[in-house]
Symmetry: D2
Subunit: 329 residues, 4 copies
């Protein structure tokens, strides 16, 4: 049985650069937690620093989660929503800002311990660059390795998972795709440092999501965490899972099972104009639909198909599953 | 009932710039026609000039089609596979080449009359440009309008359908997307000039295929023909239909039915390394699967959904169709 | 001499979905107008509804512009930054919202008259859709035609210029590219309705900017306005002009001159993390650099090059201009 | 002084899937070698197996090169232009084909020794997959590591450089981008295995070319070779260098110099419709133009700019170099 979770803030308000006050109304935290728990199958949540959890409210949030039977699956330190990170967190040219980025990471690890949360998901969205001749690539990648290593050493009981994304809010992110982020993770030399695949980031980066999962697993057991959403491949649209792609998600879930991926299947969306709970529920149900499809028989058949590599057979198999039942009689 | 056809050459050998002799062996024409007729549901074929049909063999080809009960759905004049077209056909800087491009079109129309084929599908693949400061946009688009108009006037009993494609073999095609090609078609002022949507070209061009079909229909009744294949949106991969996209094809077939599109659903693929017949059959069966899904009840529900515009509801509807039957019980 | 202008708000604060309070501090309007006037060559500004100008402050803004010798080049009605537009303005499913979108347009036209501003630039950013099976394409495009026509009829002394963009904030915009927007403009039947090219939107849409300018001019004299910025072609990054592309801007400015484009060259950027005035000035100076390059001799040479279509010659010409002077001696 | 070379076949005929006999006429090998030597600055050539060099003609080719004073810079074994490689070379499901792929590599290394060529450039273009559920990612990547390792062990005096490319002729290549290919190179554990950056492949893969060069250098000294060409970022158009991009090439050449890259600057184009020699010469002259720009003063200024990270300053610097001389006085 897959373990499903959501990022809590997905239930709240969402904005963009044109409508900065947001498309919806903000919900109280208690209401968001209640809604999360009410989605069938969801057993955990991820919390974003500043937005969802702070050193001040961590105990209160922990109480609310406990009340609704939810685990804290990960904490995502806020390295993106404050003006001070505007020109980078771990890669800021200013060493004082870099030091603050590490402090923010440590503070998140402290909160994680309090919440019995096993994983810090690092997405330093402001790390990268926008223009040609703006980045000192050598120093900047090195700084991220040093910071992650320091945090991982300080909190050996916590896993640090690096979430890559090719772009946005910078036109080029420092951790852009699975392989380059794996190099950073390996370079830290720490067993508690790994990588998060966000399906939308992976697709925007031109990756095959399943291949990224295999790569991270086979080169050091570094697939630590999974974020799910969908998009049109050119931008991180953060849509309902399955609303655009379908066969790729079958391949991904096949491989995650084949790889014995032990982590959470966590929803990470931006339902700008949609009912948040409905959008998250639709995503979970889509993945549950594929999970149900992947019984032992199907797994065996798929194992054969990827070994054979015959596109007509693979396509026929997919079609037989989609148009099942009386519909094709 | 939708009418299904294929482009005959899809059953033969295919090559690319790295393997110019092709990935497979060439099949005799008679064998290709036999294979086409053997695909359940296929009642017509499209023929490419030079490759499939010439003034010399047109009667023989007509006989073979008749023997297997196949209609000639369209003829695609060869404006791309000869060295003389290398720098353009209708847009060639050399007026002698432009004249030949028109002659080739006229010759195809003559063959069409012989084969009782109602449509010439114009895909002047070499028309366009590769480099900045290489094209005189004004003259070149104008030349294509004049040539199409001349052919359409000379053969008022034949429909001329302009197939657009954003790029390849040129980095920029003159007829690139639905709307600009519609402008060309309208500018001819001829009722027998319309536009072909190739689903792969449309997706590569960043279009929503269904929206393109609506646009061409609503601005003058100009949707004349449909080519089907699939790809990853960044290149015309000419893959098995449904092997990448799914929900978009449901939306497209819904709208084609809603628009009373009267034409053929024609497969246009490049199964480089696959069994050609198997690949085409898989595409037809995929579209037949959606056709079966779109019964009167589904059409009514979809009509409501596009009016309501609620993404959660639309997504839920799609999921309920995909994971149907006992599988989710 | 080209006429240069800027969008006033480009000098102010900018935000995105992750840092909604913005990367910089907001500047007072008077300071922004002063900064605009201080950029060498800039003689006009564009004003955005709600953000820059309202029926309440229009006289005050007019006074400030006059004081600094700036023309109001266009007004952009606010069809995007308010919650009520979240699911569309002209294409909202709710007829009451559609009526408000027209009212907002009319109100902008009133302000334009007061400011002696000749042009309303319509960018209904929220018009479009995000998901498959969410849009009733037929009705929605029709609604935009009717609204534009109504405004253009009510204000025959004002030009209405439709600004297209393929996506963002919706994953699919109703007015997506030059050709489809031209179809809308023509369908209104109004001589005072045309189209705006935003260079970044054009590139994101896969267009060649110069070809779009030619198309709009040749099919009805509909190129009304130009917005300038730069990006990496996959997203509307709104960067400094010339920071990514160079040869394409030479081709564009050559054609704008060749077409006798009479309008403004207006900067439209989002200098999230940069000094706003510096970023705008850099863009203007880049375009001035090309303008200086395009003397009568260069125009004649380029005219020959696009007629000849020899990529080696065209490329050599460009190289000779870039690496000019002693550098290659 | 940078060392410039070309891939010999770039001077010959070129074809694509629509015009398989090619856009031009084939030239005799001796004539191509003569033309290569006649391009100012070119001192070396790369040879492609089957096309340019075979065990049968290797001595003859060596003689021709010597006669014209050209070095053999690299040999590219033919892993793509024969029917047997159609479904993969190192990743073929058939072990007999995989064995042949290794033999082909060894044979190329033998030829390299004869020609005193220090480098084998491996581009196994057919390695990868096209469809979802067609690839056994785990085995296939592993097979490429084993084969490369075996060749590198057998020929410790030869460097093996792995050329990545995100797609084409497969929709997904096994060696897709710099970082994943670096992982493969490192996994072989061999000091004589590194990576080739083809600038077009890098841009198509969404990379910043300069960042890729830094990554390969900093994580193990693995940047072995460079191929130059240009494109529009969505496909490997193999165009004249500088015909599309400019500022990115300045950044790349700055970093190659900063990294003390000791290898060749080798042209790799497909001048389908252009004069081959003219197209290659234009590319070399473009790079020489940048090389001349990057004097000690400029290097110092650029070093400061990438440390400062101020986009306005960086852009101003670029503009001052482009519009140099009297033009901006």
């Amino acid at each position: 049985m897959n373990k499903y979770s959501i990022i809590l803030g997905n239930l709240g308000n969402t904005c963009d650069r044109f409508l900065s006050t947001g498309y919806k109304d903000q919900l109280p935290k208690a209401e968001m937690i209640r809604q999360a728990a009410a989605i069938p199958g969801v057993k955990g949540v991820e919390l974003v620093g500043s937005w969802d959890v702070t050193p001040q409210n961590v105990d209160e949030v922990g109480g609310l989660l406990a009340k609704h039977g939810l685990s804290c699956v990960s904490i995502i330190p806020d390295h993106f929503s404050q003006k001070r990170w505007g020109r980078g967190a771990f890669t800021a040219k200013d060493p004082a800002i870099r030091a603050q980025a590490l402090e923010e990471t440590m503070a998140a690890a402290e909160m994680a311990r309090k919440l019995k949360c096993p994983l810090i998901n690092l997405w330093p969205g402001q790390d990268g660059y926008d223009y040609v001749l703006q980045s000192d690539f050598r120093s900047e990648r090195r700084w991220t390795i040093e910071a992650v290593k320091a945090a991982a050493k300080a909190y050996p009981d916590i896993r640090f998972s690096l979430e890559y994304k090719p772009k946005e809010p910078r036109t080029h992110s420092t951790w852009a795709r699975a392989a380059d982020t794996l190099l950073v993770a390996k370079e830290t030399g720490m067993p508690n440092v790994g990588v998060t695949i966000d399906t939308g980031h992976s697709m925007t980066g031109g990756e095959n999501m399943a291949e990224a999962a295999v790569l991270l697993t086979d080169f050091g057991g570094k697939l630590f965490h999974m974020h799910f959403n969908d998009n049109y491949r050119s931008w991180d649209d953060d849509m309902i899972v399955g609303s655009v792609h379908f066969v790729e998600f079958i391949e991904l879930l096949f491989w995650l099972k084949e790889l014995d991926y032990p982590g959470w299947y966590s929803m990470d969306q931006y339902p700008y104009r949609e009912d948040g709970q409905g959008a998250l529920r639709a995503s979970v149900e889509f993945l549950q639909g594929i999970e149900a499809m992947l019984d032992a028989g199907a797994m065996g058949e798929l194992r054969e198909l990827v070994k054979a590599g015959d596109a007509v057979r693979s396509t026929n198999w997919l079609r037989s599953r989609i148009f099942s039942g009386a519909r094709l009689s």
